[in-house]
């Protein structure tokens, strides 16, 4: 495995909403290597986005990180003062592509203003005392637009966001997020609102730019099929916990956790026409009403007594493949006891 860039260990995050306390992330640990693409998948409400936001330090005020470490290039981001975070990390070394390209751009400023703004601020942090003005970065901004494949960037840069289509807005955002200085890109549902041909273009763009700049990517999505095409490793999350993690081929080709297996079976692409799809009964429980033991047990077809009592730990079930389940599906016995 390549040198680690990001090491998250035991990250635990609570949302305090008055009387309700929700555990959004529960002891999340993983390592992301340099230049790797890691996919984070799960149903809505499983904590995928909270994970992204805690890494870049943009959590809402009701969030409280209980314990854990987020070590990025040897620095614990959680201990870093806010000013340092702004200066060194956020928007510089770590950037994020948000959920919704329609809302991530300010409608009352031109693309030029918004792009040069970022470049200008980055420059101020990198070279204190720099007297460069926003206008001096126009050339660079146009270069970035060009690298994301926008036709006629010289003219388009003075347009407003409404003059761009969804796919083009997403390209602008990627252009803002990816630069030579970025070493970690957090892509949160970057292609959800886009059409398939545009989605394929954007995903190709992210992986190509990542390969070119040696950027690592944390790719958050609910679309397992996309991950199968672009990610090196996959992490499956459920109700704030990591359920399964490993190389893409081994997680999707040979899933160990019943939840991952069930998710794959509910995709229509794998079933012939007319055959019923498998669906997981019930719903993801609200985070303040998690069941005892394994949070998946009420929906799991293999649930046993032990699942109702204890939380299964994440165990390395085969080489670099972890799964958090008492049941070893294939051998029909407890991995827990075996190890």
């Amino acid at each position: 495995m390549s040198e680690p860039l990001l090491e998250v260990s035991n990250l635990t995050l609570d949302y305090n909403l008055g009387s309700r306390k929700m555990r959004a992330l529960d002891r999340i640990s993983f390592t992301l290597g340099k230049g790797q693409v890691m996919g984070v998948a799960g149903e809505s409400g499983c904590g995928k986005s909270s994970l992204g936001l805690s890494i870049i330090g943009l959590l809402p005020t009701v969030a409280e990180i209980k314990r854990g470490e987020i070590v990025f290039n040897g620095i614990d981001l959680l201990k870093l003062p806010e000013a340092e975070m702004d200066k060194e990390i956020r928007g510089q070394k770590i950037t994020m592509i948000f959920h919704n390209p329609q809302n991530a751009l300010n409608p009352v400023f031109t693309i030029e203003t918004q792009m040069t703004d970022i470049l200008c601020v980055q420059d101020k942090y990198r070279n204190p005392g720099s007297r460069k003005r926003r206008q001096d970065f126009k050339r660079q901004a146009i270069e970035r637009l060009k690298s994301t494949g926008i036709a006629d960037p010289d003219a388009r840069i003075s347009n407003y966001p409404f003059e761009f289509s969804g796919g083009m807005k997403q390209r602008v955002i990627i252009g803002m997020a990816l630069s030579s200085g970025t070493s970690l890109l957090l892509a949160d549902e970057a292609t959800t609102a886009l059409d398939v041909t545009i989605e394929a273009q954007i995903n190709r763009l992210i992986t190509e730019l990542a390969a070119e700049y040696g950027t690592s990517v944390l790719y958050i999505t609910h679309n397992l099929a996309v991950l199968s095409e672009i990610s090196d490793r996959i992490m499956i999350m459920y109700a704030g916990r990591v359920f399964e993690m490993g190389w893409t081929e081994s997680v999707l080709g040979d899933p160990w956790h019943p939840y991952s297996a069930a998710l794959l079976e509910s995709l229509p692409g794998r079933q012939p026409r007319g055959k019923r799809l498998h669906s997981i009964p019930g719903y993801v429980p609200p985070l303040d009403q998690l069941p005892r033991g394994c949070s998946f047990h009420p929906r799991c077809r293999f649930a046993e007594d032990i699942c109702r009592r204890q939380v299964p730990p994440l165990i390395e079930v085969s080489s670099e493949h972890w799964s958090a389940c008492f049941l070893d599906q294939k051998r029909g016995r407890d991995t827990w006891q075996r190890i």
Binding site: E43, S44, A151, S165, G167, M168, D195, V196, T197, I198, E199, A200, Q201, N203, R204, H222, N223, L224, A225, V226, S228, E229, T248, E249, S250, L252, G253, D254, A262, L263, L264, S266, L267, P268, G269, R270, Q271, R273, G274, R276, L277, H278, S279, I280, Y283, V284
Partner: protein, 330 residues
Amino acid sequence: MAEDLIRIRNLKTHFYQGKGLLSRVFGQGLKIVHAVDGVSLSIKKGSTFGLVGESGCGKSTLGKTIFRLVEPLEGEIIFEGRDVVKMNQKDLREFRQKAQIIFQDHFGCLNPRMTAGQIVAEPLIMCRGKQVSQRSIEHEVVRLLRAVNLDPDAAVKFPNEFSGGQARRIGVARAIALNPIFIMADEPTSGLDISTAATILNLMQDLQDKMNITYLWVSHNLTQVKYMSDDMAVMYLGKVVEMGRTSEVFNKMAHPYTQALIPAVPRVSSKQRKQTILLKGEIPSPINPPSGCYFRTRCPQVFKRCEREEPPLLDLGGGHFCACHLYDGH
């Protein structure tokens, strides 16, 4: 072979921009949006017809035009031997009992001030209100909620108390309330999680088996259309570019657009990462569509003729149609 339930001939729906007073005063010309531009297709009784295409290609407008929620410019829609375009209000009302829609926005289509029970009962009251008692309507609502796997207690809840998948089910229950023979499902699983989407797909198939409903399945999710539909059409800028048996379209992929669209769909396969033809650019505006073939601006196999002539829908044999000059013998 089953007979056709719906036959559409050369249907056109155009929208007008700049019709208002302001643009007339300031002298801006009338702009015509060619939303549906000469579509012909037929849907067999009891089958599922998949309609795919990227956003803005006119697939939802086509669906709405069939119900005359949008008035067509020209063309005919033959439903059970009668032309929907020529129907008067009374006939239209009757037609709309036999044909129903499941809308795309699953919360938006439910009135937030009505309970699920009232929502499902509304079509019953509208159409049979005078002949049936309150009691039998309540009875029917319970039966419908059960049919879509919802708890009968749900009848007293308001839409905001439901999850996305449950809201969808209420939409389905309302659509099947009058025992329709035709349902248009517009992106029936958009915005749902994988597992929830699977339950909706299963439910829709069960209903089709039980009630022999014909579906028009409008979606941009190709995997789903492949799984659900018997026949399908691929639309691009208001026109059908390829049409045929779903298996045929997926296996043969005749039109260059289909050839780019289908492989672009990500698939879970641990084996190999495929190299696909990526289309350049995006759909042109339907206000000023390109001359000749509408797809020529993005087509990797474009040649001279495409600019001049609009390709007709050619029969490739076995009910497989494709609108591309590449398949024209001369």
